[in-house]
């Protein structure tokens, strides 16, 4: 049964620490099974900012644990004792963030948050359907809704019909989603010049016939087309936290991960739940792995097959949210961001450039601890 709220949820540090942070570490590790791996991810922000009022918003992991991802602890600390830290969840609970505020007397704008998470690989098992797994009508409606950047009509509909042209009308959701996944892999490409992870403006991409981009673009095409076909789908924003154990150098990052943000996608198939996909990483392998690989290279074929239904969990999930309002932003609704995957900040001069960690400044590190 869904818990429903219209109210924004604010939790103070104390409230936050009542959550898993108070769990003794011994118990944390006792929970671990062999297939779960635990990481500590530390985000440090040290604003290049004159004295005075400032705010930062640092993305935190998924609000709700899943069968592949658990948040064990969140430990925020600001060097200025007068700084106010709050863990803020968006009204629909699709994202949360550490919101830190400094007043006009502040002479230092530093904040650090340490996060302990456990992950395990996700694998779709098509032979073991569970009839109990299905979305409510409300959930189905929510995850098939169009947004400004993810329209489901017009050119998106046309391209979806093109992708499904060879699929029988009575095809299963898995079969339809696979056809869309293949279309996205075949028709998009990774553009290394795209800033950050891209913007995910699917309508613009299709209208201009420029299907180059990065994860926020390519996986958004999948999500929009799936929704257009009536399949519940969503982006999952996150960050790579470890090297790939599958032998793909381009699909992992450990140690300093400041620029390792990566979003993935999921669709819902009744009987199977949320199914992981990542067509953007197929294109990344084609472009980057060992200097570039042919589409028919065995390594590409293998990852193409793997990334429909499977995720290697050397990655931390932040959230599912689109069109995120940053609480307390002086910009009001004009300061809303399409997705929250990078630290954000503002001072009297305005918004910081989230894609410029060297001047912002912020640093993110990851280490495997269990």
């Amino acid at each position: 049964m869904m818990t429903i709220t219209r109210r924004s949820t604010l939790k103070t540090i104390a409230g936050a620490l009542v959550l898993p942070a108070l769990t003794p570490l011994s118990k944390v590790f006792a929970q671990s099974s062999l297939e779960w791996t635990t990481y500590e991810i530390v985000t440090e922000v040290n604003l290049e900012s004159p004295n005075g009022t400032a705010e930062t918003w640092i993305p935190l992991p998924l609000v709700l644990d899943t069968n592949y991802f658990r948040t064990l602890a969140i430990r925020p600390e600001a060097s200025d004792p007068k700084a106010v830290n709050q863990i803020y969840e968006t009204p629909n609970k699709q994202a949360r963030m550490l919101w830190t505020k400094w007043d006009k007397a502040a002479t230092n704008h530093s904040v650090k948050v340490s996060i302990l998470v456990s992950t395990r690989n996700r694998n779709l098992e098509p032979s073991t359907a569970n009839p109990a797994l299905k979305l409510s009508k409300e959930e189905q409606r929510f995850w098939t809704r169009p947004t400004k950047y993810l329209p489901t009509d017009g050119i998106v509909k046309v391209k979806t019909q093109e992708a499904l042209a060879q699929v029988p009308a009575n095809a299963t959701t898995l079969e339809k989603a696979k056809a869309i996944y293949n279309w996205v892999v075949d028709n998009t490409h990774r553009d290394p010049k795209t800033r950050g992870c891209g913007q995910g403006d699917v309508k613009l991409m299709l209208e201009t016939n420029n299907l180059g981009g990065k994860c926020a673009d390519i996986n958004a095409v999948f999500v929009a087309m799936a929704r257009s076909a009536g399949i519940a789908a969503r982006d999952v924003y996150g960050i790579r936290i470890a090297d790939s154990a599958r032998g793909y150098k381009s699909l992992g990052k450990s140690g300093e991960i400041t620029k390792a943000q990566h979003c993935r996608a999921e669709f819902y198939a009744s009987g199977y739940g949320w199914v992981p996909v990542d067509p953007a990483d197929v294109r990344k392998v084609i472009l980057e792995e060992t200097g570039g690989l042919a589409v028919m290279d065995p390594k590409v074929i293998a990852i193409h097959d793997y990334l429909f239904g499977n995720w290697e969990m050397n990655w931390m999930a932040y959230n599912y949210d689109h069109d995120v309002a940053l609480p307390g932003s002086a910009l009001g609704s004009k300061g809303d961001i399409p997705f929250l995957m990078y630290p954000q900040a503002e001072n009297a001069e305005g918004r910081f450039d989230a894609l410029d960690p060297d001047h912002f400044k912020y640093k993110i590190t990851s280490r495997r601890i269990g």
């Binding site: 869904m2 818990t3 429903i4 709220t5 219209r6 290049e48 009204p91 629909n92 609970k93 699709q94 409300e138 959930e139 929510f142 809704r145 947004t147 400004k148 950047y149 010049k193 800033r195 950050g196 891209g198 913007q199 995910g200 403006d201 613009l204 926020a216 949210d321 689109h322 069109d323 910009l331 609704s333 004009k334 300061g335 809303d336 961001i337 399409p338 997705f339 001069e349 305005g350 918004r351 910081f352 450039d353 989230a354 894609l355 410029d356 001047h359 912002f360």
Partner: protein, 180 residues
């Protein structure tokens, strides 16, 4: 899952995510203002690199070139020299070039200028840290350049990089406006 209220459809675009960096100057011409749906210059009041406010209204009676750019955008970088030349060539005749930087911070801009041997005062660089002006001017990518006449009317929009300010396509309209 926890939502009664759908996520708002009022999507406002943050600069870093909205920026489509035009790779080529496909439309090498001044296009009508109707291309972007505005006819009069919207408000433009921003701080320059020295921290002083600059308001486009103070340039009434002059021809103003408003260029939206960022240092990470390759065509913008290539175009920057053309803009400084434009200012140098026509500044004395009443032309003002405003280079509106999108969402970058001052150290990054200074790094770009220094790295390319461009003086901080070569053209007026304005800081649109929150991308609000960019949105108000309805540009959907960078570089995009607006040509504003002496009365504040938008006389043309150049989508993509201006590659040669000495070409008739670029300077013809500018010189005509300066003569008015």
């Amino acid at each position: 899952m926890y939502f009664k209220k759908p996520v708002t459809d009022l999507v406002f675009v943050l600069a870093f995510s909205l920026l489509i960096c035009f790779a080529t100057s496909v439309n090498a011409q001044w296009r009508p203002a109707s291309t972007v749906g505005i006819t009069q210059a919207p408000p433009l009041q921003l701080l320059n690199l020295s921290g002083k406010p600059v308001d486009i209204r103070s340039f009434k009676g002059k021809v103003v070139v408003v260029n939206f750019w960022a240092s990470w955008c390759e065509p913008c970088r290539e175009e920057f020299g053309e803009l400084t030349e434009l200012q140098e060539k026509y500044g004395s005749k009443g032309l003002i070039v405003l280079a509106v930087n999108l969402a970058e911070m001052k150290p990054r801009i200074l790094q770009f200028l220094k790295g390319n041997g461009i003086s901080e005062n070569a053209i007026e660089i304005l800081l649109d840290r929150n991308s609000t002006v960019y949105k108000t001017w309805k540009a959907r990518g960078i570089p995009t350049t607006f040509l504003v006449g002496k009365t504040g009317k938008i006389e043309g929009v150049w989508i993509g990089a201006i590659e040669d300010v000495d070409s008739e396509a670029v300077k013809g309209k500018i010189e005509a406006l300066l003569r008015q």
